[in-house]
């Protein structure tokens, strides 16, 4: 029964093609295959050792009650997952993750598009402006975090100095958990909007000029042309950015670590996983469970985006 169901439609064709396939495994094809293996295997081995093996290890650790540093642990099954989802911290951590991801992805993409539109204009200095906008993206997150901490410092920061100049007190950016999240989001968007801007700029420059000219001749103004032609035709770019920036935001670590080491108000899933294992708590198994939750969320988001969002993308 099973054999019939799985094999019946394709079986005749496979039976016919089988001798041909064996025939292909000779001469040049065989040589090509070995070349392929020689080129691909080192990379596959590296990916297996440094990505998939830790992933599997991490899943195993998530089933342990293990204190980092201890040489022994107890198998507890799904207790770490249950403990996380029933803890008072879970709503806060998941909420912070959602807020941080939505605002940074949205902010980077919207501002990136606006900046790209400005950079697309044919005026003097655009080359310098493009470099300046992209530069923060390639800077070290640690360096960026330290400089912005100085800017935001309520005691002697640049922002505090400017606010004092107009008779205002600086908000407690670092001590107030809600403002800490705002602070980190601002810096993250500033650092990453250059990436979105450059990708959008490439998209804008590849838009078909004839369609734009036809729309102009038909009397469409700039805003109408942007909304009705540019935005739909930029959808592949938007789709690409949506996936990459969302994954990047969910994995954001360096700025949070430098600017708010305690994670008070800024503890996203990945930072909570870090704090639980390598911070003060040393709960390695519990931290591994949080990492698996993050992995599952990333997997689900990526699959959903590929299945549903991509359908709305106009590729031509």
């Amino acid at each position: 029964m099973t054999r019939q169901l799985t094999g019946s439609p394709a079986a005749p064709a496979q039976a016919v093609q089988a001798p041909q396939r064996r025939g292909r495994w000779s001469g040049r094809t065989r040589r090509d295959f070995f070349v392929f293996l020689a080129l691909a295997l080192p990379n596959l081995a590296l990916i297996a050792v440094f990505t998939y093996l830790p992933l599997v290890n991490n899943m195993y650790y998530s089933t342990l009650d293990w204190t980092l540093g201890s040489t022994s642990a107890t198998v507890v099954g799904f207790d770490n997952y249950i403990n996380f989802f029933t803890s008072s911290d879970a709503p806060q951590v998941l909420g912070t993750t959602v807020i941080f991801t939505v605002v940074t992805v949205g902010g980077s993409m919207v501002l990136g598009l606006l900046v790209a539109l400005a950079l697309n204009a044919k005026v003097r200095g655009t080359t310098f402006a493009r470099s300046a906008v992209f530069a923060p993206y390639v800077l070290s997150g640690v360096g960026v975090g330290l400089v912005w901490l100085f800017i935001f410092d309520p005691g002697y920061g640049v922002l505090s100095w400017l606010l004092r100049g107009i008779g205002q007190q600086s908000p407690q950016w670092i001590n107030d958990p809600q403002l800490s999240l705002v602070m980190v989001i601002i810096v993250y968007v500033w650092k990453n909007l250059g990436y979105c801007a450059v990708v959008y700029l490439a998209g804008l420059q590849s838009l078909p000029k004839d369609v734009m000219e036809a729309a102009s001749l038909d009397g469409a103004n700039g805003f109408r042309r942007f909304m009705s032609i540019s935005v739909p035709l930029l959808s592949p770019t938007t789709f690409f950015l949506l996936i990459t920036t969302m994954i990047s935001s969910l994995q954001a670590f360096d700025l949070i670590r430098i600017m708010t080491p305690l994670g008070n108000g800024t503890s996203t899933l990945i930072y909570e996983a870090y704090l639980q294992a390598f911070g003060a708590y040393n709960r390695a198994g519990y931290s591994a469970a949080i990492s698996v939750v993050l992995f599952a969320i990333l997997l689900i988001i990526t699959v959903l985006q590929l299945r549903f969002v991509e359908r709305k993308v106009h590729y031509s």
């Binding site: 799985t6 599997v56 293990w66 204190t67 305690l262 008070n264 040393n282 709960r283």
Partner: protein, 448 residues
């Protein structure tokens, strides 16, 4: 894309799964229920020869890299057969702990000697990461009676000595003498916080500083310094293993602290480092570690005064916690390395070296017989820290023995001092958290 899961595919996937599980089980901790580290009483160094070299992991507390290297150089001259590799293993106690714990998990690259702070050594003990030093102390004839008793006692548990004091500190009350003079205040630290509350408006009016007093940064060691307030009001984070941070006295202490910020408006909370804020003139007073003393004296452009920690309405003295770091020897290295490290540990903590370390950092000398005459002639403020040692109090169990408790205390303090959260409710939540950590992470590991 449809996938035909026939028998071959299924077996292939199953094999992959089994292989992955087998690979996963190869690394990480043992789940057989036995602890790998040997029992403390098993260690016998008879006939062991010290190793030729070992790593000394330090975070250079109090910017001590230069003095650490100079002591190592002196050691090399005396013991040319033992090479000490000075390794910067982190920027602070937490980073060095992170590296040490990770090396324990990886079971490799462990040092011979490691700096361990007041809140970390007990975890190393419960995890079996460090060895008791009693045998080595006896074999190497370390003059344990010459150490400051309270500092040595901090590392004793289950009748064993688990570390020796190194960069040991207490909080100190720092004040801007110029501001005090301008406000017509006596040139001394306040005896109690109530006395300071009377002084604060005068200071604020005359100094031009933003705050009369700034609370230490909460991301630092809020749990450490706030013990002063709690003890002064008759409260604490814990009494033994009873967590009483929600007691009337503890709540009153933190309510007073909250009022100083929101009601009386003469205090603030440091964002990064209270000692830096003080040295920059943002505040007239603060409390900070003795380890910050030399840095403050160097960077402040005004006359700096230091004094004992102020008391409170219930206790005017013995309201100062000890703190800082000690030195321990890991269990996961060979006996030869342990013996070499212990030889250096003995040398490092000898009176002239602890005096040199104290002179360079402001940390307290750990040996009673350390000759501090030259040090005190140069930096007389260190005398205050040394004198205060007589009126220190052992820290609350909740802060030093509970993993993550310091962080939970800092979060609670942030809620109270920066978000004006309800003090009683916050402390009740903290008590529940501390109870949970104790029950899950500490109680099962305590010796009966």
């Amino acid at each position: 894309m449809a996938m035909n899961l026939d028998r071959r595919n299924f077996l292939g996937l199953a094999g992959l799964g089994v292989g992955a599980a087998a690979l996963a089980a190869c690394g990480g901790p043992s789940t057989s229920g036995s602890v790998a580290s040997s029992s403390p009483s098993d260690i016998d160094f008879t006939g062991v020869k010290p190793a030729g070299s070992f790593d000394f992991w330090t975070s250079h507390p109090g910017q001590s890299q230069a003095v650490e290297q100079s002591i190592i150089d002196k050691f090399q001259a005396k013991f040319p057969d033992i090479k000490v590799n000075l390794v910067t293993a982190g920027a602070n106690y937490e980073e060095i702990a992170q590296k040490f714990q990770t090396s324990q998990a990886a079971k490799s690259a462990l040092p011979g000697l490691v700096v361990l702070s007041d809140v970390w050594w007990f975890r190393y003990y419960t995890n079996g990461n460090i060895i008791p030093l009693d045998g080595l102390i006896k074999q190497l004839d370390v003059k344990i009676d010459d150490f400051q008793k309270s500092l040595v006692a901090d590392y004793q548990y289950a009748n064993k000595q688990w570390a020796l004091p190194y960069g040991r500190s207490t909080p100190l009350f720092y004040y801007n003498k110029d501001h005090f003079k301008a406000a017509g205040l006596p040139d001394r630290a306040p005896k109690t916080w109530q006395e300071f509350a009377d002084w604060a408006p005068k200071l604020q009016a005359s100094s031009g500083a933003k705050y009369a007093y700034i609370y230490p940064a909460l991301a630092g060691y809020a749990g450490w310094t706030l013990q002063n307030n709690l003890w002064g009001w008759g409260g604490s984070w814990s009494n033994g293993w009873t967590f009483n941070c929600d007691s009337t006295e503890s709540v009153a202490a933190l309510q007073w602290a909250q009022d100083s910020i929101y009601k009386d408006k003469w205090a603030g909370v440091s964002s990064k480092n209270a000692a830096d804020d003080f040295a920059a003139g943002i505040t007239s007073t603060t409390i900070s570690s003795t380890g910050d003393l030399l840095g403050v004296l160097k960077s402040a452009k005004f006359n700096v005064g230091v004094g004992f920690m102020p008391g409170g309405p219930k206790a005017e003295t013995n309201v100062c916690p000890t703190g800082g770091a000690g030195l321990g020897i890991p269990s996961g290295v060979s006996k030869e390395v342990q013996l070499a490290a212990a030889t250096f540990l003995k040398f490092m903590t000898e009176p002239e070296n602890t005096a040199a370390f104290s002179a360079a950092t402001g940390y307290m000398p750990t040996r009673v017989s350390a000759d501090m005459t030259a040090v005190l002639a140069k930096t007389p403020q260190i005398k205050t820290a040394m004198d205060q040692l007589a009126v220190t109090k052992v820290q609350d169990n909740a802060r030093v023995f509970l993993p993550g408790a310091d962080q939970e205390m800092a979060k609670a303090a942030a809620k109270i001092l920066t978000q004006q959260g309800d003090v009683k409710a916050t402390m009740t939540d903290l008590k529940a958290t501390l109870d949970g950590i104790y029950t899950k992470d500490v109680k099962p590991k305590l010796k009966s």
